[in-house]
Amino acid sequence: MKKNNFLVLMMLLLLSVVLVACNFGGEEETTDDSGTTTDTDTTTDDSSGGDKELNLVVASEPPSLHPQLATDTTSSTIMSSTHEGLMTLKNGEPVPGVAESYKMSDDQLTYTFTLRDAKWSNGEPVTAEDFAYAWEFALNPANASEYATILYAIKGAEAYNLGTTTSFDEVGVKVIDSKTLEVTLESPTPYFLELTAFKTLYPIHKATAEANPKWYTEADTYVGNGAFVLSQWQHAGSLTLEKNPEYWDADNVKLTKVNIEMVESETTQMTKFESGEIDFLGTNYGKISLDAIERLQSEESLNIVDYSGIYWYKFNTTDDVMKNANIRKALTLAIDRAGLIKNVTKGEEEPALGMVPNGVEGFGDDAGFFKDADYEGAKAALDAGLKELGLSDPSELNLKLSFNTSDAHAVIAQYIQEGWNKNLGINVTLENAEWQVYLDKLSSLDYQIGRLGWIADYNDAYSFLEMYNSADNGNNDTGWSNEEYTNLLKQSTTETDPAARLDLLKKAEEIIIAEFPVAPIYYYTNLYVVKDYVTGMEPDNLGNINLKDVDVTK
């Protein structure tokens, strides 16, 4: 018996010895990996007076922290702290950033920006050349920047980007002197100032970028001009931002350090917030999952703000059934948006009865186009549609509703499926697919009804309407087009009078809504929770948060 115990003990001992050995291995690896830093400690408690740290999460490793190469929100979220454009957004409105002031010509085509004495994180001055260099980088076809199209508002940019002209001199970007930049536009663009706050228009430090083409892949070679510097980057693990002492407005930056971990799982993000490991949770610093909303609401800790985006179902208008506008109308009208929002999405979203969110200037309310859950109207349209298709009973319709794999999309689709089945008697099959397979189906018009969302890059109605200006537009995905609509949109780009432009866009909205190539469902809201010692952290209606204004008072 004694021997038995001894043997068991030996085995356990051996096991623990090996485990401990493993332990050292683990720690070595992590410190090795962080490479550039000496500080891997994350506890906030031991920071002595004056240190203000904020702990956040983002959903993934930022694929690219190069302003001109980035395409995704995670990268833009990080860069909104490390970089600053000519203008910067404050509560959704453009205010001077690197530019101290600007002048706009009377024809609204030429902007002259005067730069302030801003500095890069390496101490060198931010010059007009840095902007021109960055924009040239974005437009140069050799760099294949996926977001270059956003610069097409600038004169000659499209031709240069598509290779029809080869000299950047023909693009309307002119460096007058190191502190003056003159930009000429193709046509009046009311949201151009907003665009200069967008990531693709951030400057990059010319000397650094020329010396090291991979400057943006590691923290120790990273140079920015924002309120914070990237001080540590453990790939796929975490990022640390520290206050940039060289920043022109450094006196007004309150935080000294921001720790950002990359956490993909929404459940984990929530658990981290609840256990106090992070101080804020909500787009774009993580996301609140559907299942948590009700609980947070009952705890009265959930904040809800407007978000300039729309969730919609697209109809494939080249499909044998869906080409019938009455069927599309019936389906659109028979969605119970209020019920969906109350019971399923729960985020106090606004039912979408138009194409442009209410938060967009001039598009206050879209009542009048159609009513939510209008079953009478839907049935009338359905009968008409069935007759046109030569069918007698709605149960003869078998439709396929597609969405990309996600719990939220699946729940919404099941709710709407049940509604269509119950109220119209139509059979609907759900089909979910992996994201890329799904995108491929949409763009090759191999679907009947498909879900998509659209979040504006700039808060203007044009951003929501432009994609339907032709059937060939890569973002259209419905095969729908309408000559009058196309013309109205074209006119709006050259109209200099804001009120007249708004009228044109509203008319366009009326046309597209009457033909139902898409069924608008709801306008997004942004949900977030924040610890009460954090102030100044509220997303604007594009979802941006300026960490410059955030303060922590413990």
Binding site: T30, H235, N475
Partner: protein, 310 residues
């Protein structure tokens, strides 16, 4: 023996070639592209992107390129993570998964075999039932549910461990347990079943009759023979575990290699798909190879063909 090893290596190369070929065609056939997104961009830019990453070449050129990449083990730049080389991505994340995997394997093997031996020694008695319950729970509760439960109770409710991250030893405990539990259950069941077979063999009865204690018989005789199926299972398992588990790394936000196997595919990041696949394949093929060699050590009756043809 040497002849056998050489022969085996040839087969490993052949298998590797097949894997690369199959992976290449599968990934090129799958719809989507590394640059696809909700937001479309002009076809000219797509052409430029394709040209930049060599995706405009005919398939046989691309295929040849991947074969050369695999031979030189240099897979080039990731198409999703701009400016980052596939080799760097693997080199940075593999040590993390390796540490975690080794720890999980030790727990799984140690406790798995222990439970299995206890079960077999006290066949159909209380200790057998207890360890069987633990083992079956391990098998039937998948790692993602276990991970969620561990995270919720031990990290959130009782605050014993951090919720997620990878900043020191304490961060590795919950994920290791979550990975280990399923495998522990299975190893224990496998050990139990083959131990039972051994326990009824003549030589074990003989040893017991000679007055050796139960446990001594286990360690001196039966365990060695009983481990054969366990070793078979452990080879491929080890290859899988040390290269990381996607779900566990996702839940505990660990920057390991396991995530890249899945995200590279959902991103259609072709270079990373090929890099991680080749890397994993090499580990797997050698793990299976080592298992075969271990067979002849554990059970000398197993003769590796080619070693000595009698």
């Amino acid at each position: 023996m040497l002849q056998y090893i050489v022969k085996r290596l040839v087969y490993i190369l052949l298998a590797l070639f097949l894997i690369i070929t199959a992976t290449f065609f599968l990934m090129r056939l799958a719809p989507g592209s590394p640059f696809a997104s909700e937001r479309d961009f002009p076809p000219q830019i797509e052409e430029q992107l394709n040209a930049k990453y060599g995706l405009d070449n005919p398939w046989y050129i691309q295929y040849k390129d991947y074969l050369i990449d695999s031979v030189t083990f240099d897979f080039g730049e990731s198409m999703k993570y701009k400016g980052r080389s596939t080799n760097d991505i693997i080199a940075e994340s593999f040590p993390i998964s390796l540490t975690l995997g080794m720890q999980a394997m030790l727990i799984a093997i140690g406790f798995g075999i222990l439970l299995g031996v206890i079960s077999a020694l006290y066949h159909n008695k209380a200790p057998d039932y207890v360890s069987t319950i633990i083992a079956v729970l391990g098998i039937s509760v998948p790692s993602f549910i276990l991970a969620g439960l561990l995270q919720y109770y031990l990290a959130y409710e009782f605050k014993i461990f951090p919720v997620s991250g990878w900043k020191g030893y304490v961060y590795s405990i919950l994920p290791s347990l979550a990975i280990a539990f399923t495998h522990m259950g299975f190893i224990s069941k496998l050990t139990r079943s083959s131990m039972l077979e051994q326990n009824n063999s003549e030589y074990v009865k003989m040893a017991r009759a000679k007055g050796l204690s139960k446990w001594k018989v286990v360690f001196k005789h039966s365990l060695r023979n009983a481990l054969l199926p366990v070793v078979t299972y452990l080879g491929p398992l080890a290859a899988g575990v040390i290269t990381g588990s996607f779900i566990i790394e996702q839940i505990f936000a660990i920057p390991g290699l396991g995530r890249h196997f899945v995200t590279s595919i959902t991103n259609r990041d072709y270079t990373v798909i090929m890099g991680t696949t080749v890397f994993y394949s090499i580990i797997l093929l050698f793990a299976v190879f080592i298992v075969d060699i271990l067979y002849s050590i554990i059970d000398p009756r197993i003769k590796l063909k080619g070693a000595k043809k009698s």
